[in-house]
Amino acid sequence: MKKDRSALSKIWEFLCLFHHGTFVDKRMAVVRKEAYDINDNLMMLLFGDFLGIPNPISYYMLELLPYMAEDLVPWQRRMQNRKFIIAEKAAQYDFD
């Protein structure tokens, strides 16, 4: 069973890679998107308490504000608008 699944996932991986290789632009968009997603997650770890998620270190994270303030407001908007996130995620997997 396990073997089958890993074989399947290999094929899937290959298909993905093949697909990305064919459409460089699209691929870069995905990479870029992924980078932004990781950053969004990071923002959550840094400033989660702004959304009501307790953060053990939030006092120290204030010193990052000068560099992140600009991204903070749009990020909060994105996080609060879950529908928007789902739409974004869907767009990411649109392989047309």
């Binding site: 990479v31 997650n41 308490d49 006092y59 120290y60 504000l65 407001v73």
Partner: protein
């Protein structure tokens, strides 16, 4: 009592902790006086929000370092003042980088983080580090009078706990930057933006500060934590637990100061109390065998100034063994 010729074999950083009301502030001040008397430039630091250090010593001490007498300085850390200073620095920096409109928009969020549960401890902790860094230049020894146990333990274990957390943040940021760089191969604007990363720099600087604090706190040559307790049941149990916890965090624990011991001259009225006390003392001696145990008598009045502290301070010469 006169001052003895015995020199205290002190560490640069000495912490006095224990349950509320056991005599931490009085002991820290008496110990600091002993160090000052032998010529060590000594700073007494209070983190206790009640700030009884000034009462114990009998002089005004504020949130800035003040000289009290030859070789002795004092400061009462005020977390609110420290947090305000910290925020002011951030706000100034922010105005250089982002527009006032944005600063305005996130004001409320700043307020949230600023008043978060850990903020007070973090503010005290930063001041600790700042003072510790001033060792050598201005001071030979710093004596910390800490707040009641739970609070202090959280404070001292802060660098370990937050260090792990911040390490994780650094990893995440690096990963994001890596992805950004890949994307940036086709995007010169983005490439320029990530050329240098103040976020990574800030996180790394903070981590290094935690590392430094942790190194100092876990170095038995530099830091030691003495417990003050009374010959009663609850303080004994609490002390045992706290010693265990500090040990788990790699912080060296030193002696136990059993304070407020009823002396024989207390008279027949206190005989029963003294019997109970003797039992608890036995318990302490066997439970904490191998540790330096200092017994400090209850004075005939509260400690309200230098004169009384001076009576106690020679007794502390033995504390560091």
């Amino acid at each position: 009592m006169t001052s003895t010729d015995r020199k205290v074999n002190y560490r640069p950083f000495t912490f006095f902790g224990g349950k509320g009301g056991t005599g931490k502030t009085s002991c820290a001040a008496a110990y600091a006086l002993a160090l000052a008397a032998q010529g060590a430039r000594t700073l007494m630091v209070s983190t206790d929000p009640a700030h009884s250090l000034a009462d114990a010593y009998g002089a005004e001490i504020g949130f800035e370092v003040v000289k009290l007498e030859e070789n002795l300085w004092g400061i009462e850390i005020d977390p609110e003042v420290e947090a305000k200073k910290y925020m002011k620095g951030i706000q100034e920096k922010m105005l250089h980088i982002v527009s006032a409109a944005i600063v305005d928009e996130i004001k409320r969020q700043i307020e949230i983080a600023y008043t978060s549960p850990g903020a007070e401890e973090a503010a005290i902790f930063d001041k600790f580090i700042e003072l510790m860094e001033s060792l050598g230049e201005r001071f030979d020894a710093i004596v910390f009078d800490t707040a009641p146990t739970g609070h202090t333990l959280r404070l001292l274990t802060l660098p370990e706990i937050l260090g792990t957390w911040i390490e994780h943040l650094i990893e995440k940021r690096k990963k994001a930057m890596h992805m950004m760089k890949m994307a940036a191969r086709y995007d010169s604007v983005l490439a320029e933006k990530i050329e240098e990363d103040p976020i990574l720099d800030t996180l790394t600087a903070r981590r290094d500060k935690f590392d430094l604090a942790r190194k100092i706190l876990t170095d038995p040559e530099r830091s030691v934590f003495h417990f003050v307790l009374n010959a009663e049941k609850l303080p004994i149990l609490e002390t045992a637990r706290a010693l265990e916890l500090l040990r788990n965090h790699g912080i060296a624990t030193g002696g136990l100061v059993v304070n407020k011991i009823l002396p024989p001259e207390a008279g027949p009225f206190f005989e029963k109390r003294r019997e109970a006390q003797e039992e608890y003392l036995q318990d302490i001696r066997s439970r904490f065998a191998g540790r330096k145990i200092l017994e400090i008598p209850l004075l005939d009045s509260d400690i309200q100034g230098r004169e009384q502290l001076i009576r106690l301070s020679p007794l502390f010469a033995d504390l560091d063994g």
